[in-house]
Structures are given as C-alpha cells and as structure tokens.
Symmetry: D2
Subunit: 337 residues, 4 copies
C-alpha cells in the first residue's frame, strides 16, 4: 500500500527502504532536498513540500512522521492544512505519550486519525525489522496492518514461545496494537526504561570485572583511603571481549545488548573512543515519572537514569556538599589526584 | 573422553546426558542410588561409592562435582582419599571463588589439579548447551577441552560477532579459560549479578505497565494518601503476555530472559502461582562485595539484590522505624488496609 | 496583628494558639463548629462562615489557610467571593508549588496577594515554633513579618552559625523569604525529600543493628538459601533504645529525627504498635520529579521514596515476575514460610 | 584516674586535653617527639617510647590507642611486650569490628583485656564531648567509667528523652556499653553508615535546590538532549546559605550535619574550595557488608557509598560501556562539552 513518510533521517530512510523492498509505495518528504533525491533514486516518490506530498497521495492518506519529538507539533500543524478528514497521521518517533493523547484528541476533533507508534530496532532495523508498539483506534490499526507487517521482523528464526501455535499473532511478528492513543508510546517508554536498566546492569558488571586486578595495585596508606583487606582475591586480568563473547552462548544474560557489547569490546577493548558522558533522551525520565505516579518502586530503573546524569557531571555540587561537611566535622581535606 | 560425575541432580544428570549424547563416557555417582540407576539405564557407568567411581576410571581421572556449594568441601575430602596425584577435580557448581582459591592451593599442594567452572544455562542446558566459565591451569583446561566443547552450545545459529572470522574461538563456542583458579567462578558470579539486574529491570518495567490503569481506580482522599494529579494519563489495560511477545522481535530488550518471561506470562498472565518471595543464592551478594572492595559503584546490581531481600520481608523493621518517626513528629497513624 | 485562620486541625489550631500567646488576634473558621468553639474559648474570634470571617476582619485582610492540599482550590474559590482586592491569602499547607504558581497568577490578576508558606515542625511546633519557608511578593512578606516572627522559633538556644553576628537575620529566627510565589513550597518540598532520606538512613541502620544476631539463628540448608559464611561475626544483641540514646549526645548523626526515634524505641523497643506500611504525602514524589527535570541524580531520595511504596506491597507483581523467571530458567520453586 | 594515650593526632591530642581538664592524668606517647612535648607543656606526662610509657604507669594500666586502623596491630604487638597481664588496651580508632574480635581473643588468651571504643564527635569533640560506643567485658567497662564519663558530653542541654527520669543512664551522658568485644565498633560502623546516608540526603537536596533555575538556561535542541517540558517551573535562584540556616530552627531536618552545612555554605556559597572528590574511610563499606550478610535491604546506605565512589571517577568504564552500546544500536555519538 501507499505510505507518506516525512523525515528521512537515519530511521526514516531505513524504514522507507524496507517498505519499498516489500513492495509498498513510499511518498517521501524531508527538509533536506538531497535526502529526498537520494530516496527517489532508491525508488520512492519524492515531494519537495508537504503540499506536494499530500497532492501525490491517494485518499485516505496515511502519513508517517519520523522527525524529532520536539518538532512534531510544528510539522503536524503544517501538514494538516494539506490533508483531508479521514486521513491518518502516524507519529513513529519518540514522543511522550501524553502528547499523543493531546494530539489524538485535537486531530480527532478535526476528523483525522492519529496513531502513535513506538519503534525499536535502531540502525539495524532495516535488516532485522522493527519492533512496533502501536496506540490507535482499532480499525485504523487494522487498516495499516500491511505497513506494520512489512516493517516488523516477522516470525523469523526466533523459536515460538511455548504455548503459542497456529496462525502467528501480530505480536509474534513484531507489531502490536497496545491500546488506544498513547498506549504505543507508553509501552515504548517502558521498553526504553527497561533498556536503561539492562544496559546499566551490564555496564556495572563489566566495570567490576575490569577492576578485578585491584589487588595488584599500590594503595595510598592514609586516613582518607580505605585499605583493601584481602588483595589476594583481586589478582585477575580478565579479557573482557572474550567474556562478553562466551556469555553470548547459552548463558542466562544472552541478549541483543550483549551481542552489541561483545562487538564494541572486540573492536576497542579499552573503549578508548568513548569518554563516558551518557545522554538520555526522555523515555527513561518519563518511565520514572510513571512509576512515581503509580507508586510503583523502580529502584533499578531510576538508578540507571541517575548514573547517566552523574556521568555528565550533574552530581558535582552534591559531592562538594559532602566534602564541605567532611571538612567541617572531621577536618578532612579532599584528596587530590 | 571419560568423565566422572558426582551429583546427579537436575544439572548433573542433564550434563551427563548431553556428554553421553556426544560420545563421551560418564562414570556417575550420587548419594541417591536410584539417580545412579536411572543414569546407568541411560548409558552411564554407575558407581555406588566414591571408591567405586575412582576404581572404574582410568588415570589421570577427571571428576566433575555438581553438588550444592555447601557440601563441596565434604565431598572433596572424601573423594581425595580415592584419587591419585595428577587427577583433576572440577567444581561445576556455584562455589564462591574465594573457596576455589583456597581449595586449589590445598589440592595443588597434594599433587591434584583443581578446576572451577561456572556453568550457566539452567534446565534448558541439556538441549541448548551450557555456557562455561573456567578457572584452571592452562594445560589442564586444554586437556579438558573435549568435555567443555561437548557441554557448550557451539557456534550454533548465533550470528558471529562482527570482526570475528576464521576458526571459531573457544568463547564463540560457549566456553572460556577465564584465568587461574577462581577466575571461572568470579566471572560466573558477575554473570549472575548482571542477571539479577536484568531481571529486576524487566520486573520493574512490567510492574509499571501493569499499574498503568491506576487512573481508573478510586483513591482514598485523606492526608495519608498522595492524590493522583492526572488520572487521565493512567487509563491503560495492557496485555502483558502480548507486550512481552512483541518485544521478542526486533527490539533492543530482546533476550533469553524476555523469552522466558513471555512464556511465563502467557501461561499465567496474573502470575497467580507465584507469591513473590524471591530467593537469592549468593552470587548477587558476592558481586556486591567485590564491587565494594574494588570501590566500583553498583547502584543497579545492589538494588536488584535488596529488592529480593525486601520481597522476603526483611525491610519490615526499617519500615516500622519510619512509621514510628512519622507518628512522633506528625502524629500520623499508620493506614490500615 | 490580626490574622484570619481557616482550618483548625492539629496544625491550624496549634498555630492559632501560638499566635494568640504572642499577642496576635486570630479570627478563626472551620467546617466543624466545635473546633471553632474550642478556639473561641481559648481567646480567638470565631466565625461560622467564610463570609462572617471576612466581615469580622479589617482590611487589608490576611487569611491563612491550613487545610488539606486537595481542598485548597475549593476553599479559595469560596473565600475570594468575600474578600476585597488588596487582601492576602496564605496557603500554609503542603501544596505543590506548581499549584502555587497557578493560584498566584489567578489571584494576582484579580487584585489579591497570594503567599505560599511551607511549614515544618509537626505537632511539636506549638511549643518549639515552626520553620517557615515563604514564597511571596517581597512587600507582602514584609507586611506579614510579625506573624512569621511569632510562629517561628526565634534564635532560641541554638548556637549561632559561625560567621553570623549582629542583628539576627530572618532565617536565624526560623522564617525565610525564599523567593517569588512557589519558592516557599519548593523549598519545603525539598526539605521533605531530605527528610525521607534521613529517615530511611536511620531506618536501614537500625534494621542492620537489629539483625546483628543472625549468626545465632538456624539457617535452612538448601539451594534456595544463601549460607551465612561467618556466623561468629553476627552474635550481637543490641539494645536499640540505648543505642539511639547514646547517639543523641556528641555524635555526628545527632538530629531531631534521632531524638524522636529514641523516644519511640524507649516506649516500644520492638515497635510492635507499627506494622510498617509507610505513607507518603506527595513532597517526596515531587522532589524526584524536580530532580529528573533538572537532571540531578537523586539515588538516595528516590530509594527512600520507593522503600515506602514497597512497604505498602507495591513491589509484589515485580517480585512475582522474578519468581516466574527463576522458575523458568532454573526450575526454582518459591520458598514458603 | 590515670590513662595512657598512644597517638597524639588531632583526635588523640584533643581527647587528652579534655581528660586533663577534668582532672585525669594522661601519660602520652607519639612517634613525633614534638607532639609529646606539646602535650607535656599542656600538663601530660610524656613518654618517648612505649617502654617508658609502661614504666610510668601504675598497674593495672589502661592504655588508649588513637592511631590509624592500619597500624593498630603493629602498635599492639610492640606495646604488649611492655605490659603485664591484667592491663587494659582500648582501641579508640575506627577499627573493623572483626579485627576487634580477633584481637580480643588473642589478648585475652595472654591475660590482657581489650576494649573497642567507637568514638564520634570529630574535631569539635574537645569542647562538645565525644559519643562513645564501647565493646568490652562488663567489669572492664565499669572500671573505665570515669574515663568514658569525662570524655563524653554528659547530659548537657539536650532535653531528656520523654520516658527517662531519675538518675541519668550512661547512654544519656554519651557513652554506652554496647556488648562484648566488637560491639562498640559495630555500633560505630552503623553510625557512620547512617551518617553517609544523611549526608547524601542533604547533598542531593541542596543540589536540586541549586539547579532550580534550569528553566532560565538555554537547552541544546538535538536528539541527544531531553527537552525541559515546563521551564516556567524552574525559575528560582535560591540562597542556599539562607535555606540551610532557616532549616536549623524548628524543622524536621534539624541536625548537627545541617549546622555544619549552614556554616560551610555561609563561608563559601558556591563551595568553590571543594572539587567534589569524596573519600570513604571503610565504615560505610563494612556497613553494607553487614547488611548483605544479614540480608537486610540497604538501598539508601549503599547509594550514599556508591555516590562517593562515582565522585572519584570509578564509574567511568561503566559509562564508556553505555556509550559504546548506544553507539552500536543507535549510532549515537557522545556529546562533547
């Protein structure tokens, strides 16, 4: 079927290519003309403007936005002027689900249909397919099923979950109608919250492995340094790329994140190319906000988020407060490097 | 090759079967005679006693212990009386790596070889193979390679890590010489610490999803209950088995633990069969001990461990202290159910 | 000076009494007539209705609301109908500072002045005085200074902070103009967030002390129970009321919360009167929301909040997920009590 | 009574002075002759060597060690050669309680008495008095009561805990027989663990207050930066020295640590003199070790410890792992400053 795609960044462009490779028609637009030209050379119908995109599509139109969350509202306003009631707009980016609820109400009142689609898979998605979490009116979801089906991985080589047989469900193919508007990005938000937690679990674990040689090192002997009581137990020099690799086969922590970690460690065992300032892009924060509103404890997911804040130096003033207190009660001077 | 196996519980029996299916000879012993008999009917050489096991093996013997960590020292003492210098003992259970270091020293002084082997894979290992993390003298590890190779999954269907080609390394087949004695169980310990963290990430995430309908529920209106400010954002009834399923395909959180969660939720979406008292078996604790000795922050792994303690009621007195304080300063009475 | 007080609960009544004892006139109203009557017998001017309260006051009126956060907006709407431009309304409860900003805007547009005043001190405040954190236009704050001064503890017996001399500042007397509207409740919110953290620190510490006799207890010996490696180090039976008492004098953890804990433990060393379900009243949650919006790590304050959630059973489903996973990969059955 | 004191650092010297001011005789020794000379000029009996110290004391001697934990064993060995059975050695430093148990056994077997005394109060203790937590045989504790009584603050101006009347208990005067050997340092260890947690609660809270102006700042607009949704709620410029000061009077967070924070912030509101690398001196780590052995959850105390580790850069490799993962799945490049 035909799909309009606005936004041909890394994600949007890959998704267009995957759709076309499965026989769908893509009408594409981007603020960068060369991105459009490149996609046209790959087989897409190009549009220089939103008006042109609308004009080149048949009704009811289905238009997928793959733009940064911060500009969705602006693009929506521009786009709606060129669409007609009954048309469908899908936000496939990382919007906050509360914005989805607001937008769905506004668009619905004007006769349009709004779909929020959480999209996971990253830059590997063009080949592996994308995991799609959809919030929409059910008939609209059904109407778009060919698109979701083409974007998602399908059953693939994954073993089916015991207890599932017969015709594969949507979820087994990698897309799901999660509920009404907002539900798609809510599920994606929690997905990313979990992702932060899993990543932190690996990061902490590898950090402990890396320092397992601490017993070989000299320790300062002063009142500001805790002595290592049993250095004989910390004499290991672990080969982290090999550890990551062996865990990929048969272990309980086997996962795509581990696969990627094994790849990164193999290429650069010291990770010298990374300084360790870790961004967060919103979903982790919103996950915690949901946990708090629901009164659900989230020690692990919060800790993972805060560690990212700390990696960017945001704990500094708190640490200065601690040093100041220690100086006051104990006369402790801060250690210098 | 020939391997002695002591301990025919769930893990030991499965491992023996996997080895025999790959053409190795297993001489088996267990304190339960029927466990031995059953394994004999599957093709193993049975031994009623440790002495008999030793007598039925050719030198240098290699004997694998698959017994609870708490009884390893006792079995070792009994076993050594029947072995000869040059023989090899492998502890394949979940021993603390510090015990390995102690035992390896003691056995080495007596002319034996000790091997610590962290074994991951659980009850699925008989089919999937086991991930093996080995601490040993290198020549002993090499001598045992046929056993490790048979137990581990092999390359399988996993895509090779980009950058790896040519002859597959041990690690790519699922076993690894991690270093000298203790190194195997050290790596396994961290593996389990990470496992706790990943499990907690999923558990917290699904708990938040489950309570996403809190806006539909009545809230007590009193000074002891925080009002939910925006109930309109918590009106979702998520189908957790479906969410777990869709994440299995193409998402960033894809993992074996997710596969298992999807299976468990499909069978029992409310998890009514589980009360939520979660055991911990030592490795998580030792991981934190290592983190602290190394001065490595481990917010996530610790939180995962403490949540298990709390699940068993160990926070109760702390909570009573909090209630007592609140009563003192604010006259707050505890809410009853 | 004259102050209207609406809401004669524990806090409002105590504050009225303190103000009258310092020579101020209180015009009081409450939805319970007997609360008004009792305060009249203590010397207040009573009012049966908001209209009557307004009629009995001289302009510009200053009216202090001491009602639950959830009803502030309703009372405000009713009250404004009886007031005149230039009058002052003070919200002395635990409102969310974002509500203050909204209300101040609305009231300001109508010619009124709004003051948000975070009030700490609990039921002891009538005698000790209250710590007051005020958000207001500066001239309005100055106008109300006599009231703040009477409610707050004053310099008292506290030693002055080194570096402070001369005329005591407002802050040294226990009240502070924190900034424009919302600033008072923002500071109070963080105060309570810190309070949660301090309470949790004590609660965890006493819980560890209480279990320091674990080496004397029998441990189950099974694969689901981590053995205690060195029971000889956990043979202590600490007298918690005595420990709390000794820390009150000269130690680094000396604090009012410790004073209260010492009192509670003396009265009931086992805290049998408390079940350990700990409420939270909003400020702790809002503190975390602020931390996240500001990207400031708050591991401790979050953990303190989550522990309260867990105390009320909110972690249960997460724990069931963990048990289900353990059952899947390891065949582990949950331990029963 | 007479007390030998070995170690005239900041703590030991102050304690000697306090004892002498209360009429006790101090026989002092230190590896720095000038420290001894200075104390002699203050009225102490000086000793150049341990032998001389022993010779100048009457039996049964009581000798207080106030030396770094790392050298206690060495000093003990040297000292014992000059003492006689029946003599008493008190370790007043920050030893690990497990060392106390070991030493008490060894010394007891040789006819000596060992006392472990946790000492809190810092550099202010000379004036305020010290809080003393003692592990000892009860008769030995009773014998030393005059010393403990002189060092501790006494009843002072603290209000007595409601429920306590009559003759003040030891604990009300600031010293306590906590139990047999090790008990004193165990209680001190937990005291310090709590101290870490309280300090972190304040540090996080002030950090959130300090960043409450984030809404005034420009934010990068890119996919790596989470937008601040409601900047209008973060427009505050709080005066932290004033906030700390006002909390000192009547609030729930009133505490000695707050007094010290108020002092430090008044002297240097930006805390420019501190870089924020926070040492830890062992007790916090041991507290967590105890929590884990006892299976007591300690989210807050652990987080406080880990934040110190992170302040010293120990999370860096973990953060690099996170950045590497993000690069792999999302093509995310790390943000530079």
């Amino acid at each position: 079927m035909q799909l309009g795609i606005i936004g041909l960044g890394r994600m949007g462009a890959n998704m267009a290519r995957r759709l076309m490779s499965k026989g769908h028609e893509c009408v594409v637009q981007d603020s960068h003309a060369d991105a459009v030209a490149k996609m046209v050379s790959d087989g897409a119908v190009g549009a220089a403007t939103l008006a042109e995109l609308a004009a080149k599509m048949t009704k009811p139109r289905a238009v997928w936005l793959m733009v940064p969350a911060a500009v969705v509202d602006g693009v929506l306003d521009d786009l709606l002027a060129h669409l007609d009631p009954g048309d469908i707009i899908i936000d496939g980016g990382n919007s906050y689900y509360r914005d989805d609820i607001r937008r769905a109400k506004k668009l619905g009142d004007a006769g349009f249909h709004y779909v929020d689609c959480g999209t996971s898979g990253g830059i590997a998605g063009q080949d592996r397919g994308y995991c799609l979490m959809v919030g929409a009116e059910k008939p609209i979801f059904d109407h778009l099923r060919p698109i979701f089906s083409a974007l998602s991985p399908g059953l693939g080589n994954e073993p089916r979950t015991p207890g599932r047989d017969g015709e594969p469900s949507d979820s087994e193919q990698g897309f799901l109608h999660c509920g009404p508007n907002g539900a798609g990005h809510f599920v994606k938000m929690i997905h990313n919250g979990i992702e932060y937690g899993m990543m932190a679990a690996f990061a902490e674990g590898f950090n402990i492995l890396r320092h397992a040689n601490i017993g070989k090192k000299d320790h300062a002997v002063d009142a500001e340094t805790t002595p290592l009581r049993e250095p004989e137990f910390y004499q290991y020099e672990f080969d982290l790329p090999e550890v990551a690799e062996v865990w990929r086969r048969g272990s309980v922590v086997g996962s795509w994140l581990l696969d990627l970690t094994a790849k990164a460690l193999l290429a650069d065992p010291e990770l010298k190319h990374f300084g360790g300032k870790v961004s967060d892009s919103g979903e982790g924060r919103w996950t915690i906000q949901a946990a708090i509103d629901e009164a659900v404890p989230a020690h692990v997911l919060s800790a993972a988020l805060y560690d990212r804040f700390s990696s960017r130096g945001e704990a500094t003033f708190a640490n200065q407060i601690l040093s100041a207190m220690r100086h006051e009660f104990g006369g402790h001077a801060e250690k210098k490097d």
